[in-house]
């Protein structure tokens, strides 16, 4: 299952940028290389994220959240 971003709808995995410290734990554990980190910018690449949640488990400061009602889309292989 891959998620898709739509304006106004909540995503399944969301990084709260205001609280993020940009430490890179999530990037290090992401098996899909779906997180992009710059000096003080971070984003999940929607097309690659599989909602596996490993980034949430590794985040030392609880800034990645899982929204159960987030938007999902079937993967097209």
């Amino acid at each position: 299952m891959y998620r898709i971003a739509k304006t106004g709808q909540k995503l399944m995995i969301e990084i709260l940028p205001d609280k993020c410290d940009f430490c890179g734990c999530c990037v290090g554990v992401c098996p899909e290389d779906a997180i992009e980190l710059k000096e003080a910018e971070i984003r999940i690449i929607d097309e690659l994220c599989t909602n596996c949640s490993k980034c949430i488990w590794a985040c030392p400061i609880e800034v990645i959240v899982f929204n159960k009602d987030g938007v999902l889309k079937e993967a097209i292989y």
């Binding site: 554990v29 098996p31 488990w57």
Partner: protein, 391 residues
């Protein structure tokens, strides 16, 4: 100004990157180091402790980047008992990484490498599987810089390796999720002692540290394994420990971070690519220390890369993995076994180990005795460690 082509491009200007750059540039080859942040050495995502013998081969010790000189190591048991192991001479430092990293950058530059900050590398130039340079964002423009070798020194969040087809992502259970404050007004901390608190109440699957930085300043932090962080975060554990031990401390810096406490990657080089430091998982898997081993990895990679350019023979990069294993990788196999064993020791057993160590007269306590006492709790570990030696 940046040229459109270099012999070697190093991505990341931490200790591993700048040491790699220095040892390559010393051979007269053309080296460029690119750093994504605006500063070399800042922000400091590090507890800053290092053994003296890991510093000296790379830079002459200088008080301007030494915050504390260490000759004592204190281990605190889950029930709060402390045992101190003391050495006759200073054998460790707590660094000021922002100055230390700057100095390493200066030394690389003096050797002939060029460093540029605020360049965000966002891809590699690939010809088939061969790495031929980097794509990057610099001063608002997307640029391409070609090179014969790219050295990925881009830390725990390394993506350079992935772009080159090397599987670098780390199992979340091997990722130590860390949170640290640098605090002032820290009481009852000896300026020459590193403190390690062991136990699930302080930091499950890791440890809680207090590393002095002089004048009642200290780095106070902890790392816990991803498996434990999943249940309760590093931040939450640190809040508790601060309340318990240092309620009056001021927080001057707070920072999150991750330490890949795993074995070095099976593949740390490829066609035109090498990885060093945290990016190659060259961290000591037991202690989480990565400055010293990162610099060693950087030197080994830099020397090989420089030689490969001089002799116009990129096949030499294939020697990197073996050279690293000989220098450090093999001892990391042992540390990894010890890590597995030590983090499986229960709180009760830790209480017992510390109690036993306290009975040994002060002058006879050694770090070796600590591990021997710990190993006595898990005799099967001795077999594991022996296996590593035999292989």
């Amino acid at each position: 100004m940046l040229k459109s082509q270099y012999d070697i491009i190093v991505v990341g200007a931490g200790p591993a990157g700048t040491v790699a750059a220095r040892f390559a540039a010393m051979q007269g080859v053309d080296v460029l180091v690119l750093e994504k942040d605006r500063d070399v050495g800042y922000p400091v995502r590090c507890a800053e402790a290092i053994s003296k013998r890991n510093v000296v081969p790379f830079i002459e010790p200088n008080d301007k980047w030494i915050a504390a000189k260490i000759n004592k190591y204190a281990f605190v048991s889950p029930n709060g008992e402390e045992v101190v192991i003391e050495f006759d001479e200073v054998n460790g430092y707590v660094l000021e990484r922002r100055i230390f990293d700057y100095e390493l950058g200066r030394l690389a530059s003096e050797a002939g490498a060029k460093i540029q900050t605020r360049v965000y590398v966002n891809g590699l130039i690939l010809e088939g599987e061969k790495v031929c340079g980097v794509k990057a964002e610099f001063q608002g423009k997307q640029i391409e810089i070609r090179s014969k070798i790219v050295i990925g020194a881009d830390g725990v969040e390394s993506r350079v390796g992935r772009w080159a087809g090397i599987k670098t992502h780390i199992d979340y259970r091997d990722m130590e999720s860390c949170f640290q404050v640098t605090a002032a007004n820290v009481d009852n901390v000896d300026p020459g002692t590193l403190y390690f608190y062991l136990g699930t109440n302080y930091a499950p699957g890791g440890y809680f540290w207090v590393f002095p930085k002089g004048d009642k300043l200290a780095n106070i932090g902890l790392g816990i394994s991803g498996g434990d962080n999943k249940k309760r975060s590093a931040l939450s554990f640190l809040n508790d420990n601060m309340k318990k031990f240092f309620p009056n401390a001021s927080v001057l810096t707070q920072i999150a971070g991750g330490v890949p406490c795993a074995l070095t990657l099976e593949r740390i080089s490829g066609d035109g690519i090498m990885l060093v430091g945290d990016a190659a998982r060259q961290v000591n898997p037991l202690t989480g220390g990565g400055i010293g081993s990162g610099m060693i990895g950087g030197r080994v990679a830099g020397e090989i890369a420089g030689e490969a350019i001089r002799k116009n023979n990129l096949q030499l990069l294939d020697n990197y993995h073996n050279a690293w294993m000989k220098e450090r990788g093999k001892s990391h196999l042992i540390f990894d076994k010890l890590k597995e064993g030590i983090f499986n020791i229960s709180d009760d057993e830790f209480n017992d180990i510390i109690k036993k160590l306290k009975k040994i007269p002060k002058e006879k306590r050694t770090l070796g005795k600590f591990f021997v006492t710990a190993l006595a709790k898990k005799p099967s570990l001795i077999v594991d460690v022996a296996k590593v030696y035999v292989v």
